[in-house]
Amino acid sequence: MFQIRVEYFAILREHVGCTHESLSTSAATVADLYAELDRRHVFPALGRLKVAVNDEFCDWSTPLRDGDSVVFIPPVAGG
């Protein structure tokens, strides 16, 4: 078990109802963490999400480490 911080933006922030949460998890990868949180929050289906760890884009297979900050990135719409 280690400590992870998750930040939420836009549609996910509104869905979850907070900008971030800290949690203890034993999820091995970013994908596992998403699945774990999806069971709790029942995220809206958003097509192809991206994900960032410690403010850099990464693969869904990226292993989690204690203290990581994770952001699930819904489809963007800048401009």
């Binding site: 930040e7 933006f9 836009a10 549609i11 922030r13 994908a31 998403y34 699945a35 999806d38 995220f43 809206p44 289906a45 958003l46 097509g47 192809r48 999400l49 991206k50 994900v51 960032a52 403010d55 850099e56 884009f57 869904w60 952001v71 990135i73 819904p74 489809p75 963007v76 719409a77 800048g78 401009g79």
Partner: protein, 154 residues
């Protein structure tokens, strides 16, 4: 000085443009995204709200500017994206590029706005005249993708 930035207040276009000055530059191309009153066939957009993941956004924005400087023969390029609530007609994003010649200025300007729209983590919520609102590019997915639930990282 950063070449990509977010702004929570109005953008000083004259100051932005002045930063690109170069005595060897004969061409300046700029693009602005304005908040319009319609989107994807839907009228009655009253205002927009932009939210950004700023720490990652500025890194990705800087990478895009660096790519443009690498790919095109330009002098300088900058981009600023607004965050927060914006009224119809307001400037949402500005891209400016200076170059010796106009081919490169136009191509780099287009490259930057296209990449920013696709890669920088910014989200746009539209507020409509009928009282509804929605996150652009997200609501349609959420509505159509119930059967595909869980395939987010396929």
């Amino acid at each position: 000085m950063s070449r990509f930035g977010f702004s929570r207040g109005p953008v000083d276009l004259a100051a932005c443009r002045a930063q690109l000055a170069d005595p060897a530059a004969g061409a300046y191309a700029s693009f602005e995204g304005w908040v319009r009153n319609h989107n994807e066939g839907r009228d009655g957009v009253l205002r927009l709200e932009y939210e950004g993941y700023e720490q990652l956004g500025v890194k990705e924005g800087e990478r895009i500017i660096a790519e443009a400087l690498d790919r095109f023969d330009i002098s300088s390029a900058h981009c600023i994206h607004r965050l927060g609530e914006l009224e119809i007609g307001a400037l949402a994003v500005w891209v400016g590029v200076s170059a010796a010649h106009r081919d490169a200025a136009f191509a780099a300007c287009r490259y930057i706005i296209d990449e920013v729209k696709h890669r920088v983590p910014i989200w746009k919520k539209e507020h409509y005249a009928d009282g509804n609102s929605g996150w652009v590019n997200c609501e349609a997915c959420a509505a159509h993708a119930t059967e595909a639930k869980g395939s987010h990282h396929a």
